[in-house]
């Protein structure tokens, strides 16, 4: 197999730029990391701090502080879990939800623009390919998840 890595490296870099340019909404200027956190909280169902940190592969102590700053920005809410009082459940505030949604819409708009250069068939193929790839990565145990030592 030739230089598959190059393809990935360039693609993810480009997508990274997209994300980077995309992170302010509702008068709030977010860092890339913060935008990823909002995304992940939104995506998961009542996640704990630990769960989101794991999903993003961030050190828990770092993550704890990141959450603190997002709470200060009034984008994230921390609720004690009644089931287990060690745990805090994370959720987006109304404002956080607005910001996350806005970013999401912008990202999708950018992506639409990219895909608009393709015809229906090409678009379908590319999207199906990415889905497929994600599944393959999920199945692989050697890679693609944060290191758990």
């Amino acid at each position: 197999m030739e230089a598959v890595r190059d393809l990935f490296q360039i693609m993810t870099r480009r997508f990274g730029f997209l994300n980077k340019n995309c992170c302010s909404a509702g008068g709030v200027e977010l860092s890339l990391v913060q935008s990823h956190i909002l995304y992940e909280i939104d995506r998961q169902h009542k996640p704990s701090i630990q769960q989101v940190a794991d999903a993003l592969g961030t050190d828990i102590t770092t993550f704890s502080r990141q959450i603190q700053s997002l709470i200060k920005l009034n984008l994230v809410k921390k609720t004690p879990d009644p089931e287990d009082r060690r745990v805090y459940i994370l959720s987006l505030t109304t404002e956080g939800m607005y910001v996350a949604t806005t970013i999401d819409e912008q990202m999708n708009a950018y992506l639409s623009e990219i895909f608009s250069q393709m015809n229906e068939f090409e678009r379908e193929t590319v999207i199906r390919s990415i889905k497929f790839l994600n599944e393959a990565m999920a199945k692989s145990n050697q890679c693609c998840t944060p290191i758990v030592e």
Copy 2:
């Protein structure tokens, strides 16, 4: 178009993990950023500091310091450009080349493992799709390049 962003977000996150777990070679422990820099210096033809910083979308002052630390690690070399004495040409040292190559091989090995789950046709399709996507992103002027204001 449905939630294309999700596909991308997950894919790039997974690839990010891959990169993250992949950054030590030849007894040197590199950060993700450092590994990206080696990659980009290797890829470009006698790039200047500015060029690599631009390609990676990093602030030039930050980048200047990152190069300094890679020089200290004896992975990167800075040569004055005879054509324009303001400019420094970056290149990898022998050791830097070794590290970059090792990381590259590891990444490709991981990717091979992922692709080994697919049959020949699927593999071809996925790879062609990513190439295609890269071209589309390159053509788009709205996105996918670092902000130049």
